[in-house]
């Protein structure tokens, strides 16, 4: 029996890679009165549904996707969250 899973992959820049977009946002926030923000990093998130026989198998598949296409390991890290769908 296969099951549906809700998958969230968050792609962020690896530590040590300068994030000019994050820096620009960080510099803009004080202009609006938000003075206590630091360490802004911009990334992207991908959400999708995945059919798999169990969560372990689902995670393995998502890890393989991250490695092959969803992220570029030279500059990006990924964080995977998986929830069982109803």
């Amino acid at each position: 029996m296969s099951q549906m899973f809700n998958v969230l992959v968050e792609v962020s820049l690896r530590e040590g890679i300068a994030d000019p977009e994050g820096l620009t946002i960080e510099r803009a926030l004080p202009a609006l009165g938000f003075n206590s923000v630091s360490g802004v990093r911009v990334g992207k998130s991908l959400r999708f549904d995945l059919e798999a026989s169990n969560e372990t198998e689902a995670r393995q598949q998502v890890e393989a996707m991250c490695e092959r296409i969803l992220a570029n390991p030279v500059i990006e890290d990924t964080e995977i969250s998986i929830d069982g769908a109803s």
Binding site: P20, E21, I69, V74
Partner: protein, 220 residues
């Protein structure tokens, strides 16, 4: 015999005709190849031109790497055939892992379209084999993601095997070590952010790009 240079057209490529024109003008014969082709037919060299292949969705070059023709391009490269990626083509070559590292957003987050002065660092690549180390070339850039990034180990390996082909005199985009172009260990696969095809006619303000492209149509 006239050297045939295959120029791959992906949906979203926009410099392919400029490359064909430049190759023809220096005595070669440019030929457009469609990204869905699975064979390169009888070309002597391959160019992946600039543009926004597959809309640059997800990451620059990420989707183009899976175009059917890329398998043939990889085989051709592994067999020692000259393969050059210009701008978006360079990004595709890194995504396809034919070249190490990645191209990230420019420092300062500006799209840059301007002439740049380049320095030839290595003459062991197919593009620079007719030039001398230290030669300076005036070739324009036109990119948002040209900031070359790689790990420390990769950078050391690039330096050790003389794979840094071209550097910027005044680094416009934050690229590691001022890198404008690199090659693989054999020197037959080259990626560069500047556009040699846009500096291949006196009317364009510089003919230095033609000096690079000539490497593609010579026998080495």
């Amino acid at each position: 015999m006239t050297a045939k240079v295959g120029v791959v057209v992906f949906p979203g490529s926009n410099c392919e005709h400029d490359v064909v024109e430049a190759v023809d003008s220096i005595g070669g014969s440019g030929k457009l190849l469609w990204h869905k082709d699975t064979h390169l037919s009888d070309v002597d060299a391959v160019v992946l031109p600039g543009g926004f292949a597959h809309g640059d969705y997800l990451r620059t070059g990420a989707m183009a790497r899976f175009s059917p023709i890329m398998e043939a391009v990889c085989r051709f490269a592994y067999d020692g055939g000259p393969v050059v990626g210009i701008c978006n083509g360079f990004q595709i070559l890194t995504e396809a892992q034919l070249l190490p590292g990645a191209l990230y957003k420019n420092r300062g987050l500006k799209f840059l379209c301007q002439p740049t002065m380049l320095r030839v660092e290595s003459t062991s690549s197919v593009l620079t084999r007719g030039l001398a180390q230290g030669d300076e070339l005036n070739v324009p850039i036109n990119h948002f993601e040209g900031n070359y990034v790689c790990s420390k180990e990769t950078l050391e390996a690039l330096r050790a095997s003389n794979q840094i082909v071209l550097t910027y005199r005044d680094n416009p985009n934050g690229a590691t070590d001022d890198i404008a172009g690199i090659c693989n260990k054999n020197g037959n696969v080259v990626g560069l952010m500047p556009h040699p095809e846009r500096a291949a006619h006196p009317l364009l303000g510089s003919t230095d790009g033609a000096l690079l492209l000539k490497g593609l149509i010579s026998d080495g």
